[in-house]
Amino acid sequence: MEIDLRTVAIKPLRHTFDHIARRFGDKPASRYQEGTYDIQQTDIFHYRPMWEPDKILFDKSRTQVQMKDWYALKDPRQFYYGAWTIARSRQQDAAESSFDMIEERGLADIIPEEIKQTALAVLVPLRHVEWGGNMGNSFISAYGYGTAITQPCLYHAMDHLAVAQYLTRIGLVLDGPEALDTAKDAWMTGAMWQPMRQHVENVLVVQDWFEIFVAQNLVLEGLTYPLVYDYLDGDFSANGGTVISMMTRFMGEWSTETAKWVDAQIKVAAAESAENKALISDWVKQYRPLVLAALAPIAQRAFGDQAETVLAEVSAQFTARCTKAGLTV
């Protein structure tokens, strides 16, 4: 049986803001829509930026990719700030309880030494790669065009910072603060990390923001995350290192979720025009071998004589993913 609470019903004059109604009609709009669409200014900027006087403040020409409507790049997760932060806090609760349990019970001590050393050598220096991801995505959030893409890129930048901090905690749990110094030394001077550091630094100076999106969010993450949080994590679990998997759970879930968002952006941008498709495909073809080369010594350390096989599998899966998103790579 239903109960029927009565309220005073007032007929509204309109259901949403005009700029939302122009896109979707005058009907109740979602919080994602009202918080995202057309809230970036597009017209009439008073002064040329002192740091880039040949452009206006928000300028479509900061990338070679061209879109008739930049708001076509919508986020399938519909993340506005509240949705994003609440989703992440739930994931953080789960991660926190894992870390708590591991720290309380000293579970790091039961990890086999060999696994622990691999985790210290491979996972902890990745915090610097995450910092690069944070830099690239904050660049897009500042200089990209249209809130539909600049907004999730800031969330993505903050997520990268969070992953860097989870990796830091892994170092602290496994070996204490010295682990961080060792990892930084390896990052700065160790032979295994130099190709990756060089690649990350090269991406830091890219000026086309959509190119950064492809290089960082599609190619670098698309190859590194499966390698580390899928294959290597599987190895850890299979060899008595489940404790490490408990600490990388956030990264695994996060990369599955964010890959869907990244793919949706690539798909829409590539479907827009033959030029976009060619441009993005070329970027993938340019960056894929560079990332694979940078990952090779890391894979060697992680998988030994299986490294080539694993990298080949990761690469094949990545290429299939790009094809599915409409690229020719």
Binding site: Q40, M50, Q92, G106, S138, F139, L154, M158, L161, A162
Partner: protein
Amino acid sequence: MDMNVKKKKLGLKEKYAHMTRGLDWQTSYQPMEKVFPQATFEGIKIHDWDKWEDPFRLTMDAYWKYQAEKERKLYAVLDAFAQNNGHLGITDARYLNAVKLFLTGISPLEYVAHRGFAAAGRNFPGVGPRVACLMQSVDEIRHAQTQIHAISNYNKHYDGFHDFKHMLERVWYLSVPKSFFDDAFSAGPFEWMIAIGFSFEYVLTNLLFVPFMSGAAYNGDMATVTFGFSAQSDEARHMTLGLECIKFMLEQDPDNLPIVQKWIDKWAWRGIRVLSLVGMMMDYMLPKRVMSWKEAWEIYFEQNGGALFADLARYGIKVPDCLTQCSEDKEHISHQTWATFYQYGGAAAFHTWMPNDEEMDWLSAKYPNTFDKYYRARFTYWRDEAEKGNRFYSNTLPMLCQVCQIPMLFTEPGDPTKICYRESEYEGEKYHTCSDGCKHIFDDEPEKYVQSWLPVHQIYQGNCFPEGTDPTAEGFDPLAAVLDWYHFNNGHDNLDFEGSRDQANFAAWRGMATKNT
């Protein structure tokens, strides 16, 4: 089984240091100046980024935890507000006009703050300020969105809210706040931090954000005040960041002092001009007043700001010269600004009105030196004329200040009956400013301010009519064409409150909700 020896728990500061410091590195495959190309062009010298003291030691896990909790509470209140016709709980429909000013003039700036702090968070070579700026960037998009969401329900029922982004870019008085943020974002990252991080968020926030939120609390606006409370702890963080940033710049190199002082002078004055809109809001637009503009200025600027500048004196920072004029201006600007909006009420996206007798008495009491002497007679005259059916609307357009873009409505220091004009020349052209403060800013960077898109000039040049308009056509009405281009619903968004659709609907709906007829 042996008991494990637990590792010593790290303290908060230590933990934060590990979590954040050391993530960055000196690049060697690419030069640092290419990775951080905006770090030096403003002339600010930083020798050691690690000397930065993190003002709030928040790791992402803690950030998500606190913020998600606040978001859940806020949206629960907004849902309840919408479900229960919370808009009928406000003191008086006139109050809505303060909210309109906020949504059209302030919320879009929160958005620009988000983008600007993302840029600062990319451009500083130090990990401490980068992370702090990025957290502020993500807070600012929170503020833009939660304000839009809080005010969305008002938009469904009342006029003037419906196309706020379009209006911000075009409407004459909204170019005042818009140009302020365009100015800051088009400068470099250090000036941005002084402009927004320090001047706006630290020095002026109690005169900007707080009056609107207190006004909401006093006038029964549960949606906006809940947002205000929810944003309070974010704002406190932003204030500490602004202060830390200025101290850091001053401590790093003595050569930074004159640059920082110049920016403080500029942005204090720019900010104060924007606050004229807040002053009139406090004195005229709130049915239930919180305090007068003059009182707010005395408490928040003269007392609190005075203490701040006393604190900064040890670095050699002086109180900006232009501020001496403010102790005189505080008696006038709200009246002069409201009088201007009343006259140009045909072209404003909110309603205007003249205060009633009781309100005029309040103004006399709060402004014993000026209200009766300079303003009451004029306001009474306008009100009497309106009651006779001769509501006065000015059909000309006012001259705008080249810097702050406010109409030339402020008066000469020492003579509140004479409009203040200043003139500068640049490359053979004359430019006009409203005050010594704005003239000083113009003369220092003329190449920047000659670019200003001044709404009145643009109207006269024919750039503010809908596409396809023929201004030579018989019976062409330029004002109507401009309002059309602004996307005003002419007759609903603008004009006097008396006789407005807002007034009629609010009365009818409140009647439905409280009576049985």
